[in-house]
């Protein structure tokens, strides 16, 4: 915070401040949102009731329900500072209240997913003709490579071998250029019976058609039921789940991929989501062929070991037979294969992996949400959404209206008092408060936008802001009192404006630093409601400093040039005769 050290140019500082304010206002109108977003207690929102589904139809254990509540709470809070309320209700429900109405699908998806992540080796796979030719060239999945060594960077460098070997026959419109270095299963038309994981996207196909099933190599799979299930499995259409695919205890599972284009037989779970220490969304990086967003995973030590073993096995299969389906590792999320990279570069020992997919489905939001759910772990139970409703505010509109009215009355009293006590200077403090209120309003609106923080105003914030108005006013009061002290000493006004400012400035900065440290610590460490509140207090502290430096002090300096103040008119609040003490003033130290 470099204070504007131009006592001679106070006007310029004020103009600058207003230019910035005007710019912020412009941004606000560009965003198309001119009112603050409100939290649950002020504006209501959406209630989602989740019902736990157990295999035996009994109520789940209480501890598991509570654990699920905690995980869902973490996930929702991971979205930002728009406090949601999560509570267990009855024996098997969880009620989630999120602020805001309208399309809450993102939140609903986020809280509903179990987020069970498993890494399994692929034992067999077959492409499926999509029933509807979708324009998205998908079903590709790039490799997951970890940077060997303990570097904690997440720079996925997908390096795959060439695509599937026999691109023949029907020139598929969905054939991708090789330069994209995509791994199998790439949807190349392969009419051969080679055990390549390739689909034949014949656009005319109206029913799932499996060309590979007849000659599928099921070696190593010792579960006939799964093979039968696999052969019958219809994965067409995105989002299909094969029954039982998400059961970690099953040694063999048949599973579909997310896009509904490939089906797999997968081996036992080799690494579990519990082993993930950290998951972060990584933006696209065109230089190394990462066209979509991805999620970079970091394993804990045991998970890193398991992952290294798994990749070593897959690499061994690749070396033995470059076309073996077992060179692939399936990343299974809630029973769906998100991607199945092939390991062609050797085992991955760095304890890191990347999940990625086609750019049209791996958007920023998807990657962010996926990283979020993986970060907080899987839910111990499966849930169904039993209802989604809009709810009104918890506070009640009567409370809100009267509270606002009361706050307004209080502020009017503040204005009246400062005018009464500080006369002309009071105008400066009222104007400063108005500017501070304006900046606060702008900030809250701008930060409430979903692209920024999604900050929502709750009752506690509003009252916190009212209190911080008092604290902001204190900065002016400190300055004015110093100024009056100087005048009482009998010094002329214009130099006093500067000397008083020098002394008041330090006090203001030290005191505001205390507030700011407090807010920053709470924001960094606390969660939920406390975090949002800390944010509000920190924000107003900063605004207070900006206003007192860029508005109040320059304003006083400007006014000091006017005769009304300089001559100490009796209504200016700087009338020496009214301030004059009738006893010796304590000799204060003069600054050099």
């Amino acid at each position: 915070m470099a204070p504007p050290s131009t006592p001679s140019r106070p006007g310029r500082t004020i103009l600058l401040l207003f230019a910035v304010l005007a710019a912020l206002t412009g941004v606000m109108f560009l965003q198309g949102q001119t009112t603050p977003k409100l939290a649950l207690d002020l504006a209501g929102g959406t209630t989602v009731t989740l019902t736990a589904v157990t295999e035996n139809g009994q109520s789940p254990p209480e501890a598991q329900l509570q654990q699920a509540v905690n995980i869902i709470r973490d996930r929702v809070n991971g979205l930002g500072v728009s406090e949601a309320e999560v509570a267990p209700q009855g024996d098997d429900h969880i009620v989630v209240q999120v602020p805001g109405t309208g399309d809450q699908r993102r939140v609903v998806d986020l809280i509903g997913t179990t987020a069970q992540l498993q890494f399994r080796q692929v034992y067999a796979s077959a492409g499926i003709a999509p029933q509807t030719a979708r324009p998205s060239p998908s079903a590709g999945s790039t490799g997951s490579t970890g940077s060997p060594g303990p570097s904690a960077t997440s720079s996925p460098s997908p390096s795959q071998g060439a695509s599937s070997p026999t691109p023949t026959a029907s020139a598929s419109a969905r054939q991708r250029p090789l330069s994209q270095a995509l791994a199998a299963p790439s949807p190349s038309a392969s009419a051969s019976g080679s055990p390549s994981p390739s689909g034949s996207p014949s656009p005319s196909a109206s029913a799932p058609l499996d060309l590979n099933a007849l000659t599928q190599d099921y070696s190593g799979i010792d579960d006939k039921a799964v093979i039968a299930q696999f052969e019958k499995l219809d994965c067409s259409g995105a989002g299909r789940k094969a029954p039982g695919a998400d059961d970690p205890r099953r040694k063999w599972v048949a599973a579909c991929d997310r896009e509904g284009e490939v089906k797999y037989i997968l081996g036992p779970v080799r690494v579990e989501g519990r082993q993930i220490a950290d998951a972060t969304a990584v933006p696209p990086n065109v230089q190394n062929g990462q066209t979509g967003w991805s999620v970079s995973l970091e394993f804990e030590s045991q998970g890193a070991r398991q992952f290294a073993e798994l990749t070593a096995d897959a690499y061994g299969e690749y070396q033995a037979n470059g076309m073996s389906p077992r060179r692939q590792i399936a990343i299974v999320l809630d029973g769906q294969v998100v991607s199945a990279p092939q390991i062609t570069e050797g085992p991955i020992a760095g304890g890191q992996a990347t999940i990625n997919g086609p750019p049209d489905s791996f958007t920023q939001q998807y990657a962010t949400d996926l990283a979020n759910v993986l970060d907080y772990g899987a839910l111990p139970l499966k849930f169904e959404r039993s209802s989604i409703e809009t709810v009104s505010s918890t506070l009640g509109s009567d409370q809100l209206e009267k509270g606002m009215l009361a706050g307004a009355i209080g502020l009017v009293l503040v204005v009246a008092y400062s005018l009464l006590y500080y006369r002309g200077l009071g105008l400066v403090s009222v104007a400063s408060l108005a500017v501070a209120a304006g900046i606060t309003y702008l900030s809250v609106v701008l930060l409430g936008h979903e692209d920024t923080l999604g900050f929502r105003l709750s009752l506690a914030h509003v009252i916190g802001l009212i209190v911080s108005i008092g604290i902001a006013a204190d900065s002016f009061i400190v300055y004015f009192e110093r100024l009056r002290d100087e005048l009482r000493e009998g010094r002329p006004l214009r130099p006093s404006v500067e000397t008083a400012w020098r002394r008041a400035r330090r006090t203001i900065l030290v005191a505001d630093a205390v507030m700011f440290i407090g807010a920053a610590v709470l924001y960094a460490l606390a969660i939920g409601g406390v975090k949002g509140f800390a944010f509000a207090i920190g924000l107003t502290t900063l605004i207070d400093v900006v206003v007192v430096f860029c508005f109040t002090k320059p304003m006083v300096a400007l006014l000091a040039r006017r005769e009304f103040f300089a001559k100490g008119h009796r209504w200016s609040g700087l009338d020496p005769a009214r301030l004059r003490r009738t006893r010796p003033a304590p000799s204060l130290v003069k600054e050099a």
């Binding site: 509570a87 709810v391 506690a460 009061i477 009192e481 030290v510 630093a513 205390v514 507030m515 003033a585």
Partner: protein, 380 residues
């Protein structure tokens, strides 16, 4: 009326000289009483935590033509004293504190009777806490780190004694506010908790402003021409910031007080009342403690330092020389601490610590201030 005017005019002119530092016993005993009462309240009555912390019962029913106020009063008359009413797209959702089954049935019956529903159409379920233990744990952790950082920061910006005094004042404020909650029976909701945090900030903030002034006034104490004890200097600093302290707390408390007033007398129960009480009490106690707890404590700590002890001796030696006593006036800001002056006229109302009227009444004991030249002459 005239007296009040005179007092206000004194304050306006910055002519307050109260001997605040000189009576640590008074303040300490006042604070001790307040603390004892608060701790007793916390032990005897305890805090009543809101539904958000403890969980409770939730009733859902359909009553399309009812208003929020109607639903709230109907449920409240049946027994529960915390009632949160929400209208949902499928009817009403009312959350109350945990009720025994008899009372649950009573609420169902009352709601049914009021809105013409059979009691079984008023479903009742138990709801858990929305404010998880994790949030509380994290908040405590954050608070601990915050305290450490602030002590560190104040030790660097000022000195460790000031950091310690500010911390004592902080704990003092929080305990007293919590005690008032215990006695008043107001709910402790998440909003209240945030109010506590605000108080914490305010209390520290206020102490820092006061200490900053003390630091400035006591900077080159004991050099030629500035022969005063630390207590006297600190007291003068207090008097210098007194106007600012009173003004600030007034400005901060006016809106809060009006919300508290409206919340308590016009609305009855509700989040507004619960939250504004913590802030109202906190600001009062915070202002009092930064002036009358933190500062006397700081002065006592400082007076133990050898250099200030020596200074004290020197000042005393001077004052006992009879010649000086005839010639000098008592320094502004009251008398030295060991002889309690009779003119401080600190009318400390026991129940309202903020109403410390700190103005000298009675005849003034300082000579009229001469012109600047005259003063220069006497100084030589």
């Amino acid at each position: 009326m005239v007296a009040i005017r005179a007092v206000l005019s004194r304050i306006y002119k910055g002519e307050v000289s109260a001997d605040i530092v000189g009576r640590p016993r008074l303040w300490y005993s006042l604070s001790a009483i307040l603390l004892a009462v608060s701790i007793a309240g916390l032990i005897v009555r305890g805090l009543s935590f809101g539904v958000e912390f403890t969980g409770g019962s939730v009733f859902t029913f359909k009553a399309p033509n009812a208003s929020i106020e109607q639903v709230r009063s109907t449920v409240a008359e049946a027994g529960p004293h915390q009632v949160i009413v929400q209208s949902t797209s499928s009817g009403w959702r009312v959350t109350t504190e945990s009720l025994p089954s008899a009372e649950v049935a009573e609420v169902q019956r009352a709601v049914g009777a009021e809105f013409g529903l059979p009691a079984e159409q008023v479903s009742a379920q138990i709801i858990g806490s929305t404010w998880g233990d994790e949030i509380t744990e994290k908040a405590w952790l954050a608070l601990a780190v915050f305290m450490l950082l602030i002590v560190g920061y104040l030790s660097v910006a000022f000195e460790w004694r000031m950091a310690l005094a500010a911390m004592v004042a902080l704990v003092h404020d929080l305990v007293i506010t919590a005690g008032i909650y215990a006695w008043s029976g107001f709910e402790v909701t998440p909003a209240t908790l945030l109010g506590f945090l605000t108080i914490l900030g305010y209390s520290l903030y206020d102490a820092v402003v006061v200490f900053d002034m003390i630091k400035e006034v006591t900077r080159d104490l004991g050099t030629a021409g500035r022969l005063r004890t630390y207590s006297q200097a600190a007291n003068e600093a207090l008097n210098n910031t007194l106007v600012r302290s009173l003004n600030t707390s007034l400005v901060a408390i006016l809106p809060v007080a009006s919300i508290l007033f409206v919340g308590t007398f016009l609305l009855g129960a509700g989040a507004l009342k619960d939250l504004s009480l913590s802030l109202f009490v906190g600001i009062l106690v915070g202002t009092y403690s930064s002036l009358c707890v933190a500062t006397p404590l700081l002065v006592q700590l400082k007076e133990r330092e050898p250099r200030y002890r020596e200074l004290r001796e020197r000042v005393r030696a001077r004052q006992t020389s009879a010649k000086r006593q005839v010639r000098t006036a008592v320094p502004a800001g009251g008398a030295p601490a060991e002889e309690t002056p009779g003119d401080g006229a600190a009318e400390a109302a026991e129940d309202e610590p903020r109403k410390v009227k700190v103005v000298q009444a009675g005849p003034r004991r300082q000579p009229r201030r001469g012109t600047r030249q005259q003063r220069r002459r006497t100084r030589r």
